[in-house]
C-alpha cells in the first residue's frame, strides 16, 4: 500500500484535502518514520483516524480495532467452551480452565457492549474450525478437544497470540482513556491466562515451559510445536526504543523480559484459513 498514492488520489477527488488536513499536515509528512515504528497493520487504522478527525466523522477506526479484538475473543471463547463441553479437562485443572472460560466469554460480551455504545455494529461470530483445518475439522489440531496435553498447547498458543494481537493495536487507540485502558486491561488478563496455562503445562510434565516466553536465538517459539512458529515470530527481539539489550543476559532471559506485538496482517494470516474459516 502506498500511502502517498492514496493522498494523491483523494487530492483529485477532493482538492481541499490539504485545507482539511492542514492541522495534521505535519503528521502526514512524518508518516514514513511513523510507519517504520508502528506495526504495519495499525496503519490502516492510524490513517483512518487521521482522515476521520480531518473530516470530523465518528471514530470508526476504534470500532474496527474492537471488532478485530472481538473476533479473537469469539475464537478463544469457542475453544474453551468446546473443551469444557467435550470433557477434555481433567478435574484437577477444571477450576483454572473454568476461570479462563468465564473471562473469554465475558470479553465477548464486554466488547459487544462497548462497540454498541460507540454506535458501531459488533460483528457476528465467525465460522470457526478449532482443528485449524479451515472448515474441514481435520486440521493439525484436531486432537485438541480429545487430548488434554494438546488442548493446553493450543490454548497456550491462543493466549500468547491474543496478548500479541492486543499489544499490536495499542498504538491505534493511543490517548483514548476509555477504550485503550479497557484494551490494555483485557491484554493483561490474556497474559495472566497465558502464564497460568504455561504453569499447567509445566506441572503436567513439560518442565522446560516457563510462564513467560523463553525464545532462543532466531526463534521466538518456545512451545515445542513447530506449527505455531508464526504465532511467536519476532518474540526473540531484544531491541526496544533503539536500545539493544542482547548483552544484558541470556537470549531467553532478555527476550522473556519483553513481549512482542503482532500486526493485524500477521494475526489475519495466522488465523484466517485455519481456525477462522475462509469463505
Amino acid at each position: 500500500m502506498n500511502l502517498f498514492e492514496i493522498v494523491d488520489q483523494i487530492e483529485k477527488i477532493d482538492p481541499e484535502i490539504h485545507e482539511r488536513l492542514n492541522p495534521r499536515r505535519a503528521a502526514i509528512k512524518n508518516i514514513t518514520s511513523f510507519g517504520s515504528k508502528v506495526a504495519l497493520a495499525a496503519m490502516p487504522f492510524a490513517l483512518g483516524s487521521l482522515f476521520k478527525k480531518a473530516y470530523g466523522a465518528a471514530p470508526a477506526n476504534v470500532v474496527e480495532v474492537l471488532n478485530f479484538a472481538l473476533t479473537l475473543e469469539y475464537l478463544e471463547a469457542e475453544y474453551y467452551n468446546q473443551g469444557t463441553a467435550k470433557n477434555v479437562i481433567p478435574a484437577a485443572n477444571a477450576s483454572y480452565i473454568a476461570y479462563i472460560t468465564r473471562d473469554e466469554n465475558n470479553h465477548v460480551k464486554f466488547l459487544q457492549t462497548v462497540i454498541a455504545q460507540l454506535g458501531g455494529t459488533a460483528i457476528s461470530k465467525p465460522a470457526i474450525d478449532l482443528s485449524g483445518g479451515n472448515g474441514s475439522g481435520t486440521g493439525p489440531y484436531a486432537s485438541a478437544l480429545t487430548d488434554y496435553a494438546t488442548f493446553l498447547t493450543v490454548a497456550q498458543a491462543f493466549e500468547d497470540t491474543g496478548v500479541r494481537a492486543y499489544k499490536g493495536q495499542a498504538g491505534a487507540l493511543k490517548g483514548n482513556q476509555t477504550v485503550l485502558t479497557a484494551a490494555l486491561s483485557i491484554h493483561a488478563v490474556e497474559a495472566r491466562h497465558a502464564a497460568a496455562i504455561r504453569q499447567l503445562r509445566h506441572d503436567l510434565g513439560a518442565t522446560t515451559v516457563k510462564p513467560w516466553i523463553v525464545s532462543s536465538a532466531g526463534k521466538g517459539n518456545d512451545t515445542g510445536v513447530a506449527g505455531v512458529d508464526g504465532n511467536y515470530a519476532g518474540e526473540e527481539n531484544t531491541t526496544h526504543l533503539g536500545i539493544n539489550l542482547a548483552g544484558a543476559g541470556a537470549i531467553g532471559t532478555v527476550s522473556a523480559s519483553f513481549d512482542e506485538p503482532l500486526s493485524y496482517d500477521q494475526v489475519v494470516a495466522l488465523l484466517v484459513g485455519t481456525f477462522l474459516v475462509k469463505k
Binding site: F34, S185, R192, P211, W212, T239, G242, L245, D259
Partner: protein, 223 residues
Amino acid sequence: MKTESNVITGGANMARRSFLRYAGASAATVAVLGAASCKKDRAVGGGTDVGSGDIGILNLAYALEQLEAAFYIQVVATPYSGMSSVELSYFTDIRDHEVIHRDFFKTALGTSAIKSLTPDFSSITFGDRKAVLTAAKTFEDLGVRAYNSVGYLIQDVNYLLVAGKIVSVEARHAATISNLLSSGSFVADDQVDANGLNKTISVAEVLSAANSYLSTKITANSF
C-alpha cells in the same frame, strides 16, 4: 529476616557496567528523550518528582521497576526456608526481568532519569514464604495496574508499545506469583472485574503503594 540495606543498585547476575556497554552503543538514538524534560529530581515536599509528559510516565515506570528489582534481588539473595527449586527458578527469572526493565528505563531516560531510589523493605519478612509471596503479588499487581492505567497518557506510540511489551510480562509474573500463593487465584476478583478486565488504579494510589516501600519518596505532581 528483615532488611533495610540498599540493594537497589545491586546488579543481580548482570553488572550495570556491562549492561551499559551493550546498551550504550545505540543509546544515542534515544538521546532525544533527554531534550523533552529539563526538570528532574525536583525536590517537592521532600520527594523525587517523576516529571511531566511521557518522561514523567517513563520515570514512574522506572521507579516501580527499581522497587521490583530490589525486592527480587533480596528474595533470591536470602531465600525463605523451604523455597522449592521451581519457586527459586521463577524468582530468579523474575529478578532478571525486573533488573533488565530497570536498566532499560535508566538507559532510555538518560539524563532525564530520576535518581536511584532507596527501598525500605523493613515491613517484609524475607524468611517467610507467605510474606514474600504476598509482597511479590502486591508489587506485580501494582505494576500491572499502573502500566495499564497510565497508558492513555502516553503521547508517543513507541513508548506506548514499550509499556505494552512490559506490562504483559508483569501480568505473567502476577499470575505466576498469585498461583504460588493460592492455586487458581491468577484472575481472582481482587484484580479482575466482572467484565474480565484487569482492575485499574489512580496515580495517587500507585504513589502511595510504592512509597510505603521507599525511603526515598516519589511524587508525580504533573499527573
